[in-house]
């Protein structure tokens, strides 16, 4: 029963977000602040993960391609498609569920527990609109951007690892990147990024906004937000792949 009641409250929260802002300028300031927190705040970890994922992909692909009949440029193709289709959108978003999601949940949870949300309500501010909507819109803008950066850095990391380990030359890697390139894959990755961005921000906001209790519950809500976001992301990944990658 709890799961249905949670889904109902989640949907009501989403519905409650859409109301006329009391002051457009204040909402814009909050949106920009959230863009900085979610985008710039997560850029470092996204860059590190992307480079290493690309590097590991190159080395592992080369390790598995034992036959000389397959050209070395295939390594670049496999790394490119793996990074674009799965690693950049899914893995980066799972990391972002931990980084940005837990931050959103704990920020809102702390505001709830310390009565800051009540204080905003008393002032006559729609707290769902003021606190949650800018976070979701900022996530919808910044997370796809981070995914695009992750794609570029992942492919670049693969090149660096391939060249430095002597697996593949830079020219062949670059040639391989251009072979059999399907632009639709980038579109698919961006669709996933938008869906995951909504899941990360809204699920985290839900657990943070409705937290009850004290510091311990904020921690629990934050952990639960990350766990639920990851599960929903993986489930959505499967659904989107089944729907959008039909042959």
């Amino acid at each position: 029963m709890t799961i249905f009641s949670d889904i109902g409250r989640y949907l009501l929260m989403i519905k409650g977000m859409f109301s006329k802002p009391e002051n457009g300028r204040m909402y814009w300031k909050e949106f920009i602040h959230q863009c900085t927190e979610i985008g710039v705040g997560s850029l470092g970890i996204v860059a590190i993960i992307s480079v290493f994922i690309g590097a590991v992909s190159t080395i592992q692909t080369a390790y598995q391609l034992v036959t000389p009949l397959i050209p070395r440029s295939t390594i670049a193709q496999i790394v490119r498609d793996t990074v674009i289709l799965e690693f950049a959108p899914t893995l980066v978003c799972i990391v972002l569920a931990g980084v940005a999601g837990s931050r959103i949940a704990s920020e809102l949870g702390n505001m709830r527990v310390s009565e800051q949300i009540d204080a905003l309500e008393i002032m006559g501010i729609n707290t769902k609109t003021y606190l949650i909507l800018p976070k979701i819109i900022a996530a919808l803008l910044m997370i796809p951007l981070l995914v695009v950066i992750a794609m570029v850095l992942g492919i670049l990391g693969g090149r660096i690892a391939g060249v430095s380990a002597g697996i593949i030359s830079g020219n062949i890697y670059d040639k391989g990147l251009l072979e059999y390139f399907v632009p639709y894959n980038v579109f698919f990755a961006l669709v996933k990024a938008y869906v995951f961005a909504f899941i990360i921000s809204s699920v985290a906001a839900f657990y943070g906004y409705y937290v009850k209790g004290g510091a311990l519950e904020i921690g629990r809500a934050s952990t639960k937000a990350v766990v639920v976001s990851c599960i929903v992301i993986l489930f959505a990944d499967y659904i989107l792949s089944a729907l959008l990658l039909k042959q």
Partner: protein
């Protein structure tokens, strides 16, 4: 004026407020007192709309707040200021930004005009040179005063204070109590204070509503509280022996058995051992 009519509130199968009615008068400090769990905080949250009552009405200057749409409630809320138990200051904002927040949200004033208003209310709560400090850098009493400043910055008609003295030493509590009283009179605000601090009751209680297990047990003013025969109220207010003695003395004084310029020796037990060392006698 705020009227509370037959308010009821339950959480699950637990009834927290059974049927409470009261009138909170303008320009006065109206106190809701009661033991922990008596329902005073829930009553206050029903009054400001943080909780939806299961029955009854809350009227602000005759307008039924409980029957209003969200948009209409928002308009009333702009006339409400509230001081929270933990002050509820925004951690990431400075004192100045905290107080300026309602002004930025609801006015189109220039930055200079807003800053002037912030400095004016900060001076009113006796806090100067704290503009750039963050809440974490303030003491408990200072946080409460910033909370009051933020609550009054939009010149509200109604001020709610939830346990304004919790966690404060008696002297600071007195400062906060007096500040609330002065502001109430100065701006002719309808102030509702939720407390279980007896000093507050005696200091600022123009109207006192005593809650017991979700019901209105007693109402009156601070003078009437001394002479009340309500046993539950007396057990709550004059819980300590010291306060019981103070009450007895005040009753004797009112009955004319002790003169105002009383001789302290007469009141002290003459058989009691002297506290002055023998060599100093």
């Amino acid at each position: 004026m705020i009227e509370v009519k037959n308010i009821k509130k339950t959480f699950g199968d637990k009834t927290v407020i059974e049927d409470v009615s009261a009138v909170m008068k303008a320009g006065q400090c109206n106190l809701i007192i009661g033991a922990s769990g008596s329902g005073k905080t829930v009553l206050m949250k029903c009054m400001v709309g943080l909780f939806e009552p299961d029955g009854g009405h809350v009227l602000y200057s005759g307008q039924d707040f409980t029957a209003m749409s969200n948009e209409e409630k928002t308009e009333i809320r702009k006339e409400i200021g509230m001081l929270f138990q933990g002050s509820a200051l925004f951690d990431s904002l400075t004192v100045e930004q905290n107080i300026m927040f309602p002004l930025s949200m609801f006015t189109t004033w220039s930055h200079k005009k807003k800053l002037d208003r912030v400095n004016e209310v900060l001076a009113r709560v006796n806090l100067v040179d704290t503009n750039k400090k963050y809440p974490a850098e303030l003491s408990g009493g200072m946080k409460k005063r910033v909370g009051i400043a933020r609550a009054i910055v939009l010149n509200p008609k109604y001020l709610f204070c939830d346990e304004p003295n919790s966690g404060l030493d008696p002297q600071t509590s007195l400062v906060i109590d007096r500040l609330i009283k002065e502001i109430t009179l100065e701006y002719n605000i309808t102030t509702v204070v939720n407390t279980h601090d007896m000093n507050s009751v005696m200091e600022i209680g123009n109207y006192i509503l005593y809650m017991y297990k979700g019901n209105k047990e007693w109402e009156g003013n601070k003078k009437e509280i001394i002479f009340s025969k309500n046993q539950r109220l007396n057990d709550f207010i004059f819980a300590s022996e010291f306060l019981q003695d103070a009450k007895d003395m005040r009753m004797l004084e009112e009955a004319g058995k002790i003169s105002d310029d009383r001789n302290m020796d007469e009141m002290l037990d003459k058989d009691a051992p002297s506290l002055v060392p023998p060599d100093e006698e």
